[in-house]
C-alpha cells in the first residue's frame, strides 16, 4: 500500500479530529519527525536530557499551532521552521539566564585607529563589499560557520555539532581562519585602485 504523504495524514486528522481515528493520523504524522527533531535538538544542546525537553516542547507547540498551518508550504518546512526557531530562542534564553555561557567570538576586521569614522554610505559600501568578499575568499564550511554563528547567533559548540566538524577546536578554528582571510581581503579592497582614500 502506498504511504500517505504528510499533507494527506494531516487532512485525515483534520477530518476526524473529534475521534480516536484523528489521533491516530496525527500521531503517525508526528512520529515521522521524532528522530529528526530529536537529532536536531541534541545537536543544539549537546545533552540528551535537555534535548528531550526541547523536543517535547517543540511537538507540543506544533500540536497547539496546527491550525495556523494552512498548507501554503510543505508540512516538513513548517515543522523545521518551528524547530529551528524554538531551538535558537531557547538557547538564547538559557544563555541570558546564565545557565550556559554564550560565546560570541571576537571579530573585528576594522581599522582600530578610527573604528567609528565611517559614514553611513561608507558603512553600507563596506557591508556590501564584505558580502562579496565572503563569497570570494571563504570556503563553504567557513561561510556556513560564519552565518550560523554571527547571523543566527548560534553558539560555536552547537555549530560544531550541527555541521559535524571533527577538527579539535571545531567551529572556532573556522572563525579564526575566516577572520584572517577577510582581514587581508578587506585591506586589499580598501586600497584597490580607484577607491577614494
Amino acid at each position: 500500500m502506498q504511504e500517505l504523504s504528510d499533507e494527506e495524514l494531516l487532512a485525515r486528522y483534520r477530518d476526524q479530529q473529534e475521534s480516536l481515528a484523528g489521533a491516530k493520523w496525527l500521531n503517525q504524522l508526528l512520529s515521522r519527525y521524532h528522530a529528526r527533531v530529536a537529532t536536531w535538538c541534541l545537536r543544539f544542546t549537546g545533552d540528551r536530557e535537555s534535548a528531550g525537553d526541547l523536543a517535547q516542547d517543540i511537538f507540543l507547540r506544533v500540536y497547539r499551532n496546527l491550525d495556523s498551518f494552512r498548507g501554503a508550504s510543505k508540512f516538513s518546512t513548517w515543522l523545521y521552521t518551528v524547530t529551528r526557531n524554538h531551538c535558537i530562542n531557547e538557547m538564547k534564553a538559557r544563555a541570558s539566564r546564565g545557565n550556559q555561557a554564550a560565546e560570541v567570538l571576537d571579530f573585528d576586521v576594522h581599522d582600530q585607529a578610527a573604528p567609528n569614522a565611517l559614514t553611513t554610505l561608507e558603512q553600507r559600501e563596506e557591508i556590501e563589499a564584505m558580502r562579496m568578499l565572503m563569497q570570494e575568499v571563504l570556503d563553504d564550511t567557513e561561510q556556513r560557520v560564519m552565518t550560523l554563528h554571527f547571523a543566527d547567533e548560534i553558539g560555536l559548540e552547537a555549530v560544531t555539532r550541527l555541521l559535524n566538524l571533527k577538527n579539535p577546536s571545531g567551529a572556532r578554528a573556522y572563525v579564526v581562519s575566516a577572520k584572517r582571510k577577510l582581514t587581508s581581503a578587506l585591506q586589499r579592497w580598501k586600497t584597490r585602485p580607484g577607491r577614494p582614500q
Binding site: L42, S73, V109, R131, M146, F150
Partner: protein
C-alpha cells in the same frame, strides 16, 4: 573592542531574501521566472544558502553513530508522551457520527422541556430587524514585509464603525509576544518589547476591529514581516 556589527549585517538576511517556506516553494514547486529569480538570489546570498542547507540537512538527517543511543531514548520519550490531548471517553465509542443523532435528540428534549412547547408562550423573539455583520478585511499599512531594525509602530486602515482594535504580535510559530487594545488604527510597540526583537527575525501580527458592542467587524488575518539589520 569587538566589532561584530558589520560582519553580522553582511551575513544576515537582505530585503530580497524570501522566508524559508517561500524559498523552498519557489525552488521545488514553481517553474519559470519565479524559480529563476529564487535561484539567482540563492547564488549570491550566503544567508539563504545556509538556511537552505540546514533545512535539507534536517530533512535528510539520520542520527550519527555517536548520537544514536541518545536519539533512541528521546524518541521513546516522545512516543510515550504524544502531544495529542486525551480523547474524551464518549468519543472512544466510534466518534461523533455514532452519537450525533442521539445527542441531537437529547438536546431537542432538553430545549422543549426548558422552553415549553413552542407557541404556548406567544410568539418568539422578533429577529426580522437583526443586522447580520460580516467582518471586513483590514488592510495593513506598516510595517512592510521587511524592516530594518525593530518596528516602533503598527498601522492599518481604519474600519468603519470600529470602536476599538485588538492588535497581536507573535512569533512565527504563533507564540504570543505582545498584544494591545487601542482606539486608533495604530499601536506603538513598547521599547521593552522592541529591545527583545533582535534581527534577523521573522514575526507574525494581526489586528481585529470591534464595534461598540464588542462584535468583531474586521480582521487582517496573519501578517508576516522580517526584521533585518
Amino acid at each position: 573592542m569587538a566589532n561584530i556589527q558589520p560582519i553580522s549585517k553582511s551575513l544576515g538576511p537582505t530585503p530580497e531574501c524570501l522566508s524559508l517556506d517561500a524559498l523552498v516553494v519557489s525552488l521545488e514547486r514553481e517553474q519559470g521566472a519565479v524559480r529563476q529569480a529564487a535561484e539567482a538570489h540563492l547564488v549570491t546570498c550566503l544567508y539563504c544558502q545556509t538556511e537552505l542547507a540546514m533545512y535539507r540537512e534536517f530533512q535528510s538527517a539520520a542520527p550519527r553513530t555517536e548520537e544514536q543511543a541518545a536519539v533512541r531514548q528521546i524518541v521513546a520519550r516522545l512516543q510515550k508522551n504524544q502531544p495529542l490531548e486525551r480523547v474524551p471517553w464518549w468519543k472512544a465509542f466510534g466518534g461523533v457520527k455514532v452519537w450525533a443523532p442521539a445527542s441531537l435528540a437529547l438536546a431537542a428534549v432538553v430545549i422543549i422541556l426548558t422552553l415549553g412547547i413552542p407557541g404556548q408562550h406567544g410568539a418568539g423573539p422578533d429577529v426580522s430587524g437583526e443586522v447580520i455583520l460580516r467582518s471586513a478585511r483590514i488592510s495593513v499599512v506598516v510595517p512592510p514585509s521587511t524592516v530594518r531594525g525593530s518596528p516602533s509602530v503598527f498601522e492599518w486602515q481604519p474600519v468603519e464603525g470600529a470602536a476599538s482594535y485588538q492588535m497581536r504580535l507573535f512569533e512565527v510559530d504563533n507564540t504570543p509576544l505582545w498584544s494591545a487594545q487601542v482606539r486608533e488604527p495604530k499601536a506603538e510597540l513598547p521599547s521593552a518589547i522592541r529591545a527583545r526583537l533582535t534581527a534577523p527575525k521573522a514575526l507574525n501580527w494581526s489586528v481585529t476591529a470591534m464595534n461598540a458592542a464588542g462584535t468583531v467587524i474586521g480582521e487582517s488575518g496573519t501578517q508576516r514581516f522580517s526584521i533585518t539589520r
